[in-house]
C-alpha cells in the first residue's frame, strides 16, 4: 500500500506519502475521450531529425474558487527535446509551477480542501498523452520516467523517515529489488550528488542535513530511476549563492551524464542563462515569448521580456543608472486584462493601431528561427524599439 500511495516517487515521495492516492490527472469535465484519435500525433509534431519527446499543447489549468475561475495556465504550448534544457521564467503567479505540477500529474481532486483543478489540453510524453492516460499509467511514469526537484527540500522530504529510506522507497516503487540492493543504490546516488560519507549520511534524517545537502538529496531522489525528464521548480531559490553554484553545476553535469531533458522553473534570469538552451517567458498564465536562450537574451521580442531584462541589477556591469522597472503589478488571474494581458503595464501598448492590444489577445507568432513572441506590434516596430530604446540602456 505504501507503494500505491507514492505517486511522486521521483522527488515527490513525501508530498504524497501517506495521503490517499487520488487520480493523478483531473480532466476537464465533459471533455471527449480523445485517446484513440490522437495517438500518433506527437511523432508528427517535431520537425524531421528532432527528438521531441515532451509536447505540451494548449495546456489549461483552471481552479474554480469562490471569487471566480483562476486561470493559472491558459493555453500553453511547448516542445522539449531529449537532452535539452528549457527554462521557464516569470514572476510569481504567472503559472510556472502550476505548469510543472500539471505535467507531473500532481494536481488532484479536492485534496487539501482546495477546489479541483480543471485541466485541458494535451501533454504528450514519449508517445503517451498524460492527460488522457489512465492514472495507473501516469503513476508508472511518474518517478521513473519523469521526476521533480522541489523548491523547498525541507518541506518536500518527510521528516519521519531517513533520507536513505526515502530514496530507497522511490527506487523500489519502480524496481523489483531487495532492500539491500536499493540501499546500495541510495548510497551510490548520494555519493554521485556529492554528499560526503554517503554510507553514513544515508541513515540521517532530513533535519540533520544542511540546506544545500538537502537539495542534493532531493536531486538524488529524483535521479533514482534515471528519469528521462527532470523538472526543477526553483531548485536554488532557497540557497546561498555559493551553494547555488554547486547545485547548478550538479544539474548540468547530471544532464550530460544521463541525457535527460530538464525543465528549470525560476524567476532568476541568471540561473536560466546558466542552464537553459531554450527559454519560455510566462506572463499571466500564457507564454509571451519562447525561443533559444541566445535570442531571448540578445534579441528579445516582447516588451515584458524587455522589462525583465531592464529591471534586473547586473553583477557584471558597474551600472549606476536607474533600473528600468515594469510599472504596475502582475495581473490577477481571475480578471486577466482584456486583449494582451500585459497591456496595462506595457509602455508600448499604443504602438499598434486601432487599439488592438486592448481588445484582441495576441497569438504566438514566429519571429525568427524557433523564436516566438505574442505581441501585436510588427516585427519592425519591435526591432526598432529594442535596438534604439531598450538595448542601449541595458
Amino acid at each position: 500500500m505504501t507503494t500505491e500511495s507514492t505517486p511522486g516517487a521521483g522527488g515527490a515521495v513525501s508530498k504524497a506519502d501517506g495521503r490517499p492516492s487520488t487520480g493523478a490527472v483531473t480532466k476537464a469535465s465533459g471533455r471527449p475521450a480523445r485517446r484513440a484519435g490522437a495517438v500518433g500525433e506527437p511523432t508528427t509534431a517535431g520537425a524531421p531529425g528532432t527528438d521531441v519527446f515532451l509536447d505540451v499543447r494548449d495546456l489549461k489549468v483552471h481552479f474554480p474558487t469562490d471569487d471566480g475561475l483562476v486561470k493559472s495556465v491558459d493555453g500553453l504550448s511547448f516542445q522539449l527535446e531529449r537532452g535539452k534544457t528549457l527554462g521557464i521564467v516569470g514572476e510569481s503567479g504567472s503559472g510556472k509551477s502550476v505548469t510543472s505540477l500539471g505535467i507531473m500529474g500532481l494536481h488532484t481532486v479536492g485534496q487539501y480542501g482546495r477546489g479541483k483543478a480543471r485541466i485541458s489540453g494535451e501533454i504528450w510524453f514519449d508517445g503517451t498523452d498524460l492527460l488522457a492516460a489512465h492514472p495507473d499509467e501516469v503513476r508508472r511514469l511518474r518517478g521513473r520516467e519523469m521526476a521533480m526537484i522541489f523548491q523547498d527540500p525541507l518541506s518536500a522530504m518527510h521528516p519521519y523517515f531517513t533520507v536513505g529510506a526515502q530514496i530507497v522507497e522511490a527506487y523500489r516503487v519502480h524496481h523489483k529489488v531487495d532492500k539491500k540492493k536499493a540501499r546500495r543504490r541510495a548510497v551510490e546516488l548520494l555519493d554521485r550528488v556529492g554528499i560526503p560519507q554517503p554510507d553514513r549520511r544515508v541513515d540521517d534524517y532530513p533535519h540533520q542535513f544542511s540546506g544545500g545537502m538537502r537539495q542534493r538529496a532531493m536531486i538524488a531522489m529524483a535521479l533514482a530511476n534515471n528519469p528521462e525528464l527532470l523538472i526543477a521548480d526553483e531548485p536554488t531559490t532557497a540557497l546561498d549563492v555559493t551553494v547555488q553554484a554547486q547545485i547548478l553545476d550538479l544539474i548540468r553535469d547530471l544532464q550530460t551524464e544521463f541525457g535527460s531533458a530538464v525543465i528549470v522553473i525560476t524567476h532568476d534570469l541568471g540561473v536560466v542563462a546558466e542552464l537553459a538552451d531554450d527559454i519560455l517567458v510566462m506572463y499571466g498564465g500564457r507564454c509571451v515569448e519562447r525561443g533559444p536562450a541566445e535570442r531571448v537574451f540578445y534579441e528579445p521580442q516582447h516588451p515584458y521580456t524587455w522589462g525583465l531584462l531592464g529591471s534586473m541589477p547586473r553583477i557584471d556591469r558597474d551600472q549606476t543608472d536607474r533600473l528600468i522597472p515594469v510599472h504596475g503589478s502582475p495581473p490577477s488571474l481571475i480578471n486577466v486584462p482584456q486583449g494582451c494581458a500585459f497591456n496595462p503595464r506595457c509602455p508600448y501598448a499604443d504602438v499598434p493601431a486601432d487599439n488592438r492590444t486592448r481588445t484582441e489577445r495576441p497569438e504566438l507568432k514566429e519571429v525568427g528561427s524557433r523564436h516566438f513572441s505574442a505581441c501585436h506590434m510588427t516585427q519592425e516596430e519591435r526591432t526598432r524599439i529594442w535596438t534604439e530604446e531598450i538595448a542601449p540602456k541595458l
Binding site: 514572476e91 510569481s92 555519493d191 554521485r192 556529492g194 554528499i195 560526503p196 560519507q197 554517503p198 554510507d199 542535513f209 544542511s210 544545500g212 545537502m213 542534493r216 546561498d240 549563492v241 555559493t242 551553494v243 547555488q244 553554484a245 554547486q246 547548478l248 553545476d249 548540468r252 553535469d253 547530471l254 550530460t256 551524464e257 524567476h267 534570469l269 541568471g270 540561473v271 542563462a273 546558466e274 536562450a293 541566445e294 537574451f297 540578445y298 522589462g307 525583465l308 531584462l309 531592464g310 529591471s311 534586473m312 541589477p313 547586473r314 553583477i315 557584471d316 558597474d318 551600472q319 549606476t320 536607474r322 533600473l323 528600468i324 522597472p325 515594469v326 510599472h327 503589478s329 502582475p330
Partner: protein
C-alpha cells in the same frame, strides 16, 4: 504637542561626516541547557565588527545566510543589546542606552524590514501604521497627522486615498512601500534596510530599488542596506562590507570590490553569481567553494574561512588575520590576499590529509583549545573539522592517499562531470582548479 513641530526640521549632517561609528561590535547568543539554564555555549553571530557609515552614503552589507548581517543591522539600530563593543551615533555612544533614552534617537535611526507580510500589523489600517511613529514620539506634524501620512504615501508611490485600507489589500511591493513610508515618517538620518527587496518579484524589485535611490537623493538619507543578492548590492551601494561568520572580511568601495576583490571569499562569492548572459556560460573563471558555512557555535580557529579556502596555509588555521587597509579605503582580513602581494609568504601550505585505508585519521577533538603548532596537528585538526561539519562535498575517494587539498576548491566541470570531479579531488595542488574557458560549449 504641537510645540514639537520644530523637531522634524532637522539639521542634516554634512555629507561625508561620520554618522555611525561601530567599534569591535560583538553579539553572542547564549545557548542554555538544563533546569538551571546553564550556559553551555554561544552562537557567535557577530564577533568583532568595526566600520563607519558616512553621512549621505550607502553602505551595503553582503554575506551568506547565517553570517550575522541581520544581527548587525539589529545591533546598530539597538533592537538587540550588544554583548561587547561600541556603537556611536553622531559621536554619541548609544551602545547601552535604555529604551527611554533611545527613544529620541529613534527619530533619526529607522529600519525597513525584509518581509512586507509580517512587518505590518494586519489589524491596523495603513493610516494607523504610518502614523504610529508620530504617536509614539508625540509629534504633530504641520498640517496634521493625516495630511502628513497622505503626503508620505504619495511620496512612496501609493495612492493617498488608500489611507483607510488594510495591509492585506496591498501586494507585496506596495506593502514594502508602506514599510518605507513608515520608516521615513520622522525624517530619519540613517535608514537600515534588512533585505528590502529580496521578497519581491524582479519587476517590483526594480521599482523599490529606484524608490530608495530617489528618496536618498531627495532627503539626503544615509542607508545601510543588508542583502544577500550581490547584484542588488552592486547597484545600490557606495561602499560594501562582505561578512563571513560574524566578521567583516572585506570592506571597500563598490568599484574595487567588484573589479579587484582581495579576499578569496569575496572572489568566490562573486564568481558564483549566475550572470544573465548565455554567451558567457562556461567561459567564466568560476571558483566553486566546497560545502557549507561552518556553524557559528564553534567557528573554525584562525581565519574563519580557512576550511573552505584554497589558499589556506598553516598560519590561517592558528592566527586570525586582522582587518587591514592594504590599499587606501580597501580593508581586507586575509593572510594571502588576492590582487596583492602575499602577507605571509613562504608559509607552509596546509599539509595533506593523512590517510589510512581511505579514511581520514582522527586524532584530536575539533575544537581543541591547545594552540596547534606543528603542521601535522593542524592538518589533522582541519581534516577532522571538515567532515564533522559536512564542509566538504568531496566523495570518499577524496580522502584516499591521493592527498586531497583540505577545503580546496572543486572544479566546475564543463562536460564530463564525474571524471573532472575525481580529478580535482586528487589534485594535490593548492590553487583552484578552474573551468577551462570555452570547454562548456555543447
Amino acid at each position: 504637542m504641537s510645540e514639537n513641530n520644530v523637531t522634524l526640521q532637522k539639521q542634516r549632517p554634512a555629507a561625508g561626516e561620520t554618522l555611525l561609528k561601530v567599534t569591535g561590535l560583538v553579539k553572542h547568543f547564549p545557548i542554555t541547557k538544563g533546569l538551571l539554564r546553564r550556559q553551555v555555549g554561544a552562537v557567535q553571530a557577530v564577533d568583532g565588527l568595526s566600520f563607519d557609515v558616512k553621512s549621505g552614503e550607502t553602505l551595503g552589507v553582503v554575506g551568506e545566510s547565517g553570517c550575522g548581517k541581520s544581527t548587525m543591522g539589529r545591533l546598530i539600530t539597538r533592537l538587540l543589546e550588544p554583548t561587547g563593543g561600541t556603537v556611536e551615533f553622531e559621536g554619541r555612544d548609544i551602545t547601552h542606552l535604555n529604551v527611554a533614552s533611545m527613544r529620541p534617537l529613534r527619530r533619526d535611526v529607522q529600519m525597513i524590514f525584509q518581509d512586507p507580510y509580517s512587518s505590518l500589523n494586519p489589524r491596523h489600517t495603513v493610516g494607523t501604521i504610518v502614523s504610529a511613529p508620530f504617536k509614539l514620539q508625540r509629534i504633530t506634524p504641520e498640517g496634521g497627522v493625516k495630511a502628513e501620512v497622505q503626503r508620505l504615501l504619495g511620496r512612496v508611490g501609493l495612492n493617498p486615498e488608500h489611507y483607510n485600507r488594510y495591509p492585506h489589500e496591498f501586494s507585496g511591493g506596495q506593502r514594502q512601500r508602506i514599510g518605507i513610508a513608515r520608516a521615513l515618517a520622522l525624517n530619519p538620518k540613517l535608514v537600515v534596510a534588512d533585505e528590502p527587496v529580496s521578497a519581491l518579484d524582479v519587476s517590483i524589485q526594480a521599482q523599490v530599488v529606484n524608490l530608495l535611490d530617489d528618496l536618498q537623493e531627495e532627503l539626503g538619507l544615509t542607508y545601510v542596506i543588508i542583502a544577500h543578492d550581490l547584484s542588488v548590492i552592486r547597484h545600490v551601494s557606495d561602499r560594501i562590507a562582505v561578512m563571513y561568520l560574524g566578521k567583516i572580511v572585506e570592506l571597500t568601495d563598490r568599484k574595487s570590490l567588484y573589479e579587484r576583490p582581495m579576499h578569496p571569499y569575496t572572489r568566490a562569492l562573486l564568481s558564483a553569481v549566475p550572470v544573465p548572459d548565455p554567451r558567457r556560460r562556461g567561459k567564466r573563471d568560476r571558483i566553486l567553494l566546497r560545502g557549507d558555512v561552518p556553524s557559528p557555535i564553534a567557528p573554525p580557529s584562525g581565519c574563519r574561512f580557512h576550511t573552505r579556502c584554497w589558499k589556506a596555509t598553516v598560519v590561517c588555521t592558528v592566527e586570525e588575520p586582522p582587518l587591514l587597509a592594504l590599499k587606501t579605503g580597501h580593508q581586507v582580513a586575509c593572510h594571502h590576499p588576492e590582487n596583492h602581494e602575499d602577507l605571509k609568504p613562504g608559509d607552509a601550505a596546509l599539509a595533506e590529509v593523512t590517510a589510512d585505508g581511505g579514511k581520514v585519521v582522527r586524532t584530536q577533538a575539533p575544537s581543541a583549545a591547545a594552540p596547534a603548532t606543528e603542521p601535522t596537528t593542524t592538518a589533522e585538526k582541519a581534516a577532522e573539522k571538515a567532515p564533522a561539519k559536512a564542509a566538504k562535498t568531496a566523495t570518499a575517494e577524496a580522502a584516499t592517499p591521493g592527498s586531497a587539498p583540505e577545503g580546496a576548491v572543486e572544479t566546475a566541470p564543463a562536460t564530463s562531470s564525474g571524471e573532472a570531479a575525481g580529478k580535482a579531488s586528487k589534485e594535490p595542488a593548492k590553487k583552484p582548479v578552474r573551468k577551462e574557458p570555452g570547454a562548456a560549449e555543447g
